[in-house]
Amino acid sequence: MKTQLLPSILASSLFFAINAHADHPAQESEDDDFLDFSLEELISLDIPDVTSVSRKKQRLMDSAAAIYVITSEDILRSGVTSIPEALRMVPGMQVARMNGNTWSISTRGFNYIFANKLLVLIDGRTVYSPLFSGVNWDVQDTLMEDIDRIEVIRGPGAALWGANAVNGVINVITKKAADTQGSLVSLGAGNEEKAFGAYRYGGEFGETGFYKVYVKTFERDGLAKTDGSDANDDWKMKRVGFKTEWKPAADTDFTLLGDLYEGTTRPALTIFKNDEPFAGDKGMQMLENISRDQRGGNLIAHWKKTVSDTEDYSLRAVIDDYQNFDYRVTEKRQSFDMEFQHYFQPIENHDLVWGLSFRRTWYQMSDMRNIIHRDENGQPKDSRQDNLYSLFAQDDITLNHHWNLSFSARYEHNEFTGKEFQPNAKLTWKVNDNRTLWASVSKAVKTPSVSETAVLSDNITFVNTGPSNAILSIAGNQKLQSEELNAFELGYREQFGSLFRLDVTGFYNQYKNIVAYVEASKCPDGSSLIYPLGPDFGICQPKNNSLISLPSTLINGLDAATYGLEIVADWQAKDWWKLQLTYSWLQVDASPNSSNPSLAYALKRNEWLVEDLNAKQTATLRSSMNLPNQWYFDFWIRGMSNMKNAGVPGYTALDMRLAKKINDNLELSLVAQNLFDKQRAEFTEVFSGLSATEIEESWYAQIRWSF
């Protein structure tokens, strides 16, 4: 692999990540390369790397996975103000905003606000909420300017990263304190982004230490209701954070980082209040202006000892605290994670990484109005504790200069299904320096979450039964098994000269035991069903003034096959103009896995649901121009075909950003998002009780000053 130095205009672009020099233990030939550089080149060189795929650094071009990297430049130049918005850049990642603060983000199917087949990590800290089976995206945030990159793997990453990395892994990696020295001020205001500001300061301590601290705050306006009026689902957050790293010894690196945040959102809920005097459907009401406060904090310590080029040890410990004062339930959750990892070469051409990890999670639930955590007898239970431990290993075998084979496996023990084993095999064929083909076969599981096994959700889901509305309650099932995936992927990457690059991935996924909701045989309170409308339609006895209630529960009732294609094309049209086109196509075919006639209709309904969750096609086109006199112009068009289940027709959105650099340290910019769209629904759903609201055109101006 020959290092190339590109003009600084391209530095840190994706091209650079591909062409640039990445250190690989198996390569000795490049040792003298740097000596041929001029001094000017040497001091303007930087070294990007990708760590998510194999847990050790490797060249993006050679990764045997559908990996996509959002660079820090991509984030700054697109004008996105949050991590979910940034994820819209990823081919095949379907991002939909349901209201002021709720997002549905997933890839390769199963698009839902309870998207539970995606593992999301921020600096190695996992941010999945087991109680809601999804990610509370509204509190996953950091200083956008300090994100080094977001690595997204589409497809299973379970062998290395763990259960729930079924459809993908999102790994947000922030910059080192050493790379963010000095002060940075970022301020902005607009019609939707009402006001936001951040300050970061980075400095040095001791002989090897660096630190940085930051504060960030924002206030976002609510979205719009269908009739155009303000939905009042504002979103405010405040956050402080720090990162520090030092070398206790020459071969040892220590990093400590953490943050604290608090904020509030006001998503409207449609719920049924049992205690109200009842007339018709009047007990059903929309609660607006109820605050949902969230706060939390975390601390991450990472220690790494480098023994040699081909051996290192690392240890990571994470403590995390999260408090969510939701109307439906108040949840407090603490978790402790510890992970050990060892990389070495037992024999030549074998790179072995193995590790152990342990996680304990404590929950306290109170005010369980609509989301009721229950014990095995169906009684409300206000606390629980879960453990998870796992062992993983990967052997990366360099067969020769062109062929690379890798095996990995993860053994995991969880509270719900006991032991799980997740293996994976990958083969990479480097046809030449500019062309790579790869194939991967993996097994991954999605273990049941707290919400699917021990939670009753009630009085927030309504179905129309003809004469009136009815309440659908969903009770978790303790006997749920894991959903299983067998995945097959093929990929092709090619670099055509220095101007054009293509990355194509095809996949075929077979899922077994997907969770479906079906009629329950008992009411939530344990009483028997009654059949006033015939033997096929069991309901629960309405209590005084109550709506009728249809009880349902969850079973592993579906199998599914999904297949699709994801394409990324990068084109350096001119030395000042870069374009990226992405396209994805996805097909989902679900089928009931039980021939039990009493379940037939319910499973059919789930089959349609699963098949119609996602958009079949998505596409994006991003353009970056460096104009004369330090002007920068970017635009971004993204399209999504219709999402039938969410009731959202296909749409195209346009974002633009114009920036002027006054000097190296001062930048002014103007951003327009969702241009020419008065308002647009992106997602609706019925199971959470949350009301869907619509996105409006947004304008904001921003100033960034570093000194």
């Binding site: 250190d23 050493a178 071969d251 051996e311 040890y313 240890l315 006997k479």
Partner: protein, 188 residues
């Protein structure tokens, strides 16, 4: 399988948790038993070495000899890289890279001295001894140029740049090419 009530399963969990923690801890303790086999060289080491190699092309020494000796003071992975530039030629002079300890008579043995990974007290005393002597002092130690060192390498962000203390160099009768002074981040 539900394990909330299953006492034997709970016990198993406890035991397995213990085993996990014990094995984690023992693995960690065990990891300290290893001796440093061969220090890893990072891209950073490689770039720093290349920079040191290039720097020598911009410096004029009062006496021009056939060879140019770079002495290295300090232990670490970069030493492997520095040895690779041994016997290469720079401006018609053959490089010789040798490792020394803190008490060596540098002014007699070296044309340039690279110091790294060593305590500040030693650094200051070495610089004191070499004050006014025509030995080019280079280091990646923080505040090296403030102590009177001539060239300080510094990583900032993903790049490595350097600062120059031209006063020290001039006092030692070394002349630094103006092109190099232009490339420096700061010049004292």
């Amino acid at each position: 399988m539900s394990i909330f009530t299953n006492a034997s399963a709970k016990a198993t969990i406890k035991v397995t948790t213990k085993v996990t923690i014990i094995s984690l801890v023992s693995v960690i303790l065990f990891s300290f038993q290893f001796n440093t086999a061969r220090a890893a060289t990072s891209p950073e080491d490689k770039i720093k070495t290349a920079i040191i190699f290039k720097l020598t092309k911009f410096i004029s020494w009062p006496k021009k000899t056939q060879s140019l000796t770079i002495c290295v003071l300090g232990e670490g992975s970069i030493n492997n890289e520095l040895h690779k530039i041994n016997r290469k030629s720079t401006m018609g002079r053959r490089l010789s890279v040798t490792h020394r300890n803190a008490n060596s008579p540098f002014e007699k043995l070296c044309d340039a001295l690279f110091i790294h990974n060593i305590d500040n007290v030693t650094v200051k005393s070495v610089l004191k001894r070499l004050e006014g002597k025509p030995v080019l002092t280079i280091s990646d130690i923080r505040s090296f140029v403030d102590y009177g060192g001539m060239i300080g390498l510094k990583r900032s962000g993903k790049k490595i740049n350097f600062s120059i203390n031209n006063t020290s160099a001039t006092n030692a009768s070394l002349s630094i090419n103006s092109r190099l002074l232009k490339l420096a981040k700061t010049v004292k």
